[in-house]
């Protein structure tokens, strides 16, 4: 990946995105995340009846004076949010002009930066058939440069195996958090099992689906030899306008199917064009509620 990917201009855009995110979500608490765990935080969450063995310090004596029953005050436990970026680096991400991996890297970098600014824990996993590079538990803003270095060292991997990646990810990450999966979701074995697996383990999931214009509307016609970027299989085909129309229909169906699946499984979904500016995609992601609780 070229060194200019994260140049000064890019860094300025990151600051801009961070400021915009703060403006958009003004009033929201950005430094800490309310977890559903009830614990020792200072934010009141609920009451419950006293049971023997409970900590006396949490008994609400005022309520006892009023109702003559023992109630415990429950507080929400505050903890840092873990954000996991699953970046697809399979050969299919390198097809197109520009390759989809370029906006993917920028999006990851931008969102990671915003996450670091929010004091979240940022984890980045570069994957294809498996996770082959990871950067874990980045928390300080200054670690964004480590992230840059990791992203710049990304190389094409093997076949896309989403389910295997999900399994590997889950085995390595027990602590729940937010999973942002950036990919084209081209897997011969399907994406459904992988996403469901992550959801099953109570991870919040957000899919950023990148497509290139050439995939949406192929411009080639005539006799061609179709080469699969991942399997390297060839297939001769004569492209006609009718065939292209059928392909576009199939492709749109494929995208719609993915979106419907995400909606049905409470998974965030954002489809982005590889030629669009990455900041537009990031802003769209913010509007979809990404990184906002």
């Amino acid at each position: 990946m070229p060194q200019q990917l994260f140049d000064e201009d890019f860094l300025k855009k990151l600051e801009y995105l961070y400021l915009v995110s703060r403006k958009i979500f003004a009033g929201e608490r950005r430094l800490e995340r309310r977890s559903k765990k009830i614990g020792s935080g200072i934010e009141f969450a609920d009451y419950r009846n006293y049971s023997p063995g409970d900590d006396f310090r949490t008994i609400d004596w005022k309520a006892y004076g009023r109702f003559e029953r023992l109630f415990l005050r429950l507080y929400e436990e505050e903890e840092d949010l873990s954000i996991h970026f699953l970046l697809d680096a399979s050969p299919s991400m390198y097809v197109g002009s520009p390759p989809k991996v370029e906006p993917a890297l920028k999006i990851v970098a931008a969102l990671a930066y915003v996450g670091l600014c929010n004091l979240d824990r940022v984890n980045i996993h570069v994957c294809s058939s498996e996770i082959h590079h990871s950067l874990r538990q980045a928390k300080r803003r200054g670690e964004i440069f480590n992230i840059f270095r990791l992203l710049q060292s990304v190389q094409p991997g093997g076949l896309t195996r989403l389910e295997r990646v999900a399994a590997q990810f889950l085995s390595q990450n027990r602590k729940r958090g937010l999973v942002i999966w950036i990919s084209d979701f081209y897997d011969y074995q399907g994406y459904e099992a992988a996403v469901k697996q992550i959801r099953y383990h109570h991870f919040e999931c957000f899919l950023i689906h990148l497509v290139s214009p050439e995939e949406l509307e192929p411009s080639v016609t005539g006799d061609i030899s179709l080469l699969d970027s991942e399997t390297q299989k060839r297939r001769d085909l004569t492209l006609t306008p009718s065939i292209l129309a059928r392909y576009q229909k199939l492709f749109r169906a494929h995208c719609d199917q993915l979106e419907s699946f995400c909606y049905a499984n409470e998974v965030g979904y954002l489809r982005g064009n590889s030629t669009s500016p990455f900041e537009d995609l990031v802003l769209k992601a913010f509007r979809k509620g990404l990184l906002v609780q």
Partner: protein, 621 residues
Amino acid sequence: MNFTNLSPALFWSALLPLAAAVIILYILKLRRRTYVVPFSPLWEQLFRQKETTDLFKRLRQWLSLALQLLFLTLLMLAWARPTIQTFKDPPYLILAVDVSASMSAPEGEGDRTRLELALQEAGARVEQMADGQRMLLLAAGNPPRVLVPFTDEKATLRQALRELQPGESDIDWKATVKLVRALCDSERGDQIVFLSDRTRVKARPLGEEFPDALFLAFGRPLDNVAIVDFNARRNFAHPADFQILARIRNFGREKTSGTLRIRKNGQLLEVADWTLGPSEEAPFSFKNSSLASDLLVAEVECAEAFRKDNHAFAVLPEKRKIHALLVTEANNLFLEAALRVNSHFEVTRLPPASYNPAAVHHDLVLFNGCALEPGERGIYLYLGPEQSSPWWTLGHAISNPIVSDWDEKHPLLRWVAFKDVNFFADPSTHARVRSILLTPKDLALARCFEDVLLALREEEKRTLLCASFRVEETDLPLRIAFPIFLANLGSLALGHPPGAQTHYPLNEWIELPADEGDPAVTDPSGQPVAVLSSQGKKYFQARERGLYASMAGGKTHPYAFNAFYPEEYDLAAGAEETPSPEASKVVSSPTGGSAPWKIAVIFFLLASTAEWWAYHRRITV
């Protein structure tokens, strides 16, 4: 199967590489561009939908190749002009190629001549000879020649065709018909093919004799101006001068202007401008007193393509007087005065008794009423010999003699008319007019029906003439024919021995002076010409017009040769204009822009280029 334009080997050696090129281009065209896609299963779904049409698609691709190859084959066949050899093909073919002067006319805008087109056709016919077929190659000219007798050896025929050159003369139809008749065996089914610029109509003698012959005519109408006659002679009115005569004819269909130039020994002598309408002819006459023993060249300059007939040549005779000896009993004013009035003649009169043949050194000796022994050389004219002699035998007396016919073409009688010559009605005179009995050596120049009145005998060194009447007993001296006859006689005297004639026709054997050793003859380009010897005499023959020279004993004799064949110069009525009867065919130049095979080639190239260019850019397949 044989081919008209190509040999079978050439046809296949051209077709196969071209077909290979088409196939290579087709394979190259089938090389598909690689299109990388990130995820092929989406496309696989399309393949499953399109699977049923693949067979047709493949078939369509092969059909495209098959059509291209078919088109290429048809194109090659159109070029090669195939002919199917059947059992009906004649086993013997007489191929007569016209080599007359008109065949050297240029054809079209290229440098090709009509003969080259004819030779191309002849070559194609040689190549398409079937096994067992024999061909005879005949050059139809003057004289006609058999180049190759019946043979099946194509190499020999090809070689003969390569060496064939156009002549400058016409076609000797009589000899050609006679030769073809002798060669053709109609019972054997011989076929005659005549390649010429003449259609059957124009080649009538051959067409009438051989109605089944195939006439292939080449050539397009061409405007032409030619010198149809040229001569130089002494001016009879002014004997010291020479008179140059020329005649130009416009054979074209449009009015044409030009210039006639006469050059003497390379120097410009006379110039005359002319303008001639279609088929018009103009005579030119120039008088000049400075001419003697000069080489004259006449040139016509005008805008035309065929210039071979624009030159004529002449060698002026030596300028000297004719020494004439008149042997007569008494004064013969009619004859002597007629001779003396011509300043060319230096006349000496002798009585017969004083005549001594050994002492004769004159150019011309006239015996009036006597038949004495001639000398060893010179011209001897016997006028009204009263009795037979060793030289002339007289027959019966002719009653009421008239001159019924005479040989107008003989140089001695050129421009001489004996019509209505009266013989005096004196019975005694009539009795003197007797028939001359000819020997095989003699030639009758004038007749009274069956009886010979004027006879000619040419011997080795002398010429004997005998008129069976005396001129003073006729009204001939009062007629214009008489001085002309005497002038012709003088010209004949000056033209004796050979070499003094102003010009000669082509293809005639010219006798060289015998007393000058071994002469060497050169043609206009300086190349030596073969000299043949026969019975102690030496001869040579000119095949092209121009100035020849014989050199012997330190002396050089120039000879001028001309070819005046108006029929050959009439190129305006080309083959295309003449309606072709059946079995005739007009063949135009293949260099013409309207040749179908050329259009087909251009179409093929354009279509292939367009198809190749559009293939990778097409929107639909």
